[in-house]
């Protein structure tokens, strides 16, 4: 029996085939899926903020792109994944509300997207697919038997990347 492993906000989980990892209701947050297609081991991280440097608190490293990913990769390697086989897919980073005078905080989705791309680049993990931006929420599921990343939305349909 394959299991559906739930990943909360500011958290990450790892798993192996035939299980799936899912996170519900991504808004400005970003879901980052890493997958080793040979070992069929993957991880899904639900980050809230671009980086831990600007934050005044870093109690929970799973909250930030730059601290969550190294921890998740480490855990995947312990399970048998191989570092240079990892590929990344990302989704989220929306701007849910539109104000006439959008402040910096309203653009956090966009900044999250940029930060995740930069972190992946720094870690030398190839980003193979992305579905970011827009003004709508996403629920994402990483299927560990295939590495497919399924993205569900309310009005914009469903797709796999």
């Amino acid at each position: 029996m394959s299991q559906l492993i739930k990943v909360g906000m500011a958290d990450y989980k790892v798993g192996r085939s035939p299980d799936s990892l899912i996170t519900y209701g991504l808004g400005s947050c970003i879901g980052i899926a890493l997958f080793d297609a040979v070992a069929k081991i993957g991880g899904l991280s639900h980050i809230m903020l671009p980086d831990s440097q600007q934050a005044r608190s870093s109690d929970n490293p799973a909250k930030f792109a730059d601290t969550a990913l190294p921890l998740m990769v480490e855990e995947m390697i312990r399970m048998g994944a191989v570092r240079n086989r990892l590929r990344a897919k990302i989704a989220g980073g929306a701007q849910m509300f539109t104000f006439a005078n959008a402040t910096e905080i309203m653009r956090v989705g966009e900044r999250n997207g940029e930060a995740v791309r930069a972190t992946l680049k720094k870690m030398d993990i190839a980003l193979v697919a992305a579905d970011t931006g827009g003004n709508y929420g996403r629920t994402v599921e990483l299927k560990l038997d295939s590495g497919l990343f399924r993205i569900k939305t309310i009005d914009k349909g469903e797709k796999e990347i």
């Binding site: 909360g8 519900y24 947050c29 809230m48 929306a94 849910m96 509300f97 929420g137 629920t139």
Partner: protein, 206 residues
């Protein structure tokens, strides 16, 4: 922020609850007058929750909701979010627009505007109470509306709090109109630092 939240005394929590009570009472009265219907409300819940658990309050991160979001400006900046399950939002629009119960299945521009106005009126009523107790001048921004997953909508506020802590202080009231099956959650979430300002202003130190 976490420290600021966890050091609140029972007396301070009571004070917050009382403000919430009067504020939500004002808001419920306003809503009742607009709709010309009886509106029930719960005693406000003051909860300190890990950020990831806040969406559970409204039925989980993937629950379909309408959210009206306002920023509160002034000495104690905060966020206000009025969340309704999608069906409730549709029923509410039916009432506001004088349509038959259950006839709205999608919001047009006018419906959206009506929902935002409701958010505006509720927030104004709530902020009146808060201003009265604190003698702070608190002004709401114009409202913004989104219809989406609860987690996605709440992320806007949770991300702000996430910059300084891992917990949120949530003052939440549930409204309901039994006959029509309309339910809504009204959230006031003070920005980091605002809680101290509010506490100092109402003079409840410990």
């Amino acid at each position: 922020m976490d420290e600021e939240i966890f050091k609140l005394s029972p007396l301070q929590l009571d004070a917050l609850r009382e403000i919430g009570n009067v504020g939500a009472g004002n808001a419920a009265t306003a809503l009742s007058q607009i709709l010309n219907k009886r509106i029930d409300m719960t005693v406000p819940q003051i909860s300190v929750l890990p950020l990831g658990e806040v969406p559970e309050v409204v039925g989980g991160a993937d629950a379909m909701v309408a959210g009206v979001y306002l920023r509160v400006y002034g000495p104690a900046p905060s966020s206000i979010l009025f969340l309704l399950p999608r069906d409730s939002a549709f029923y509410l629009v039916d009432m506001l627009m004088g349509r038959a119960h259950g006839s709205t299945v999608q919001l047009n521009e006018m419906d959206e505007s009506a929902l935002m106005e409701i958010g505006n009126i509720l927030s104004g009523a709530y902020l009146n109470a808060l201003s009265h107790f604190t003698k702070l001048t608190l002004l709401p921004s114009i409202p913004a509306l989104a219809m989406d997953m609860a987690g996605a909508i709440l992320s806007v506020i949770l991300i702000q709090l996430g910059q300084v802590g891992d917990h949120a202080l949530v003052i939440e009231t549930e409204f309901s109109s039994d006959n029509d099956g309309v339910k809504g959650h009204f959230f006031l979430i003070p920005d980091p630092g605002s809680l101290g300002t509010i506490m100092a202003a109402i003079g409840v130190k410990e």
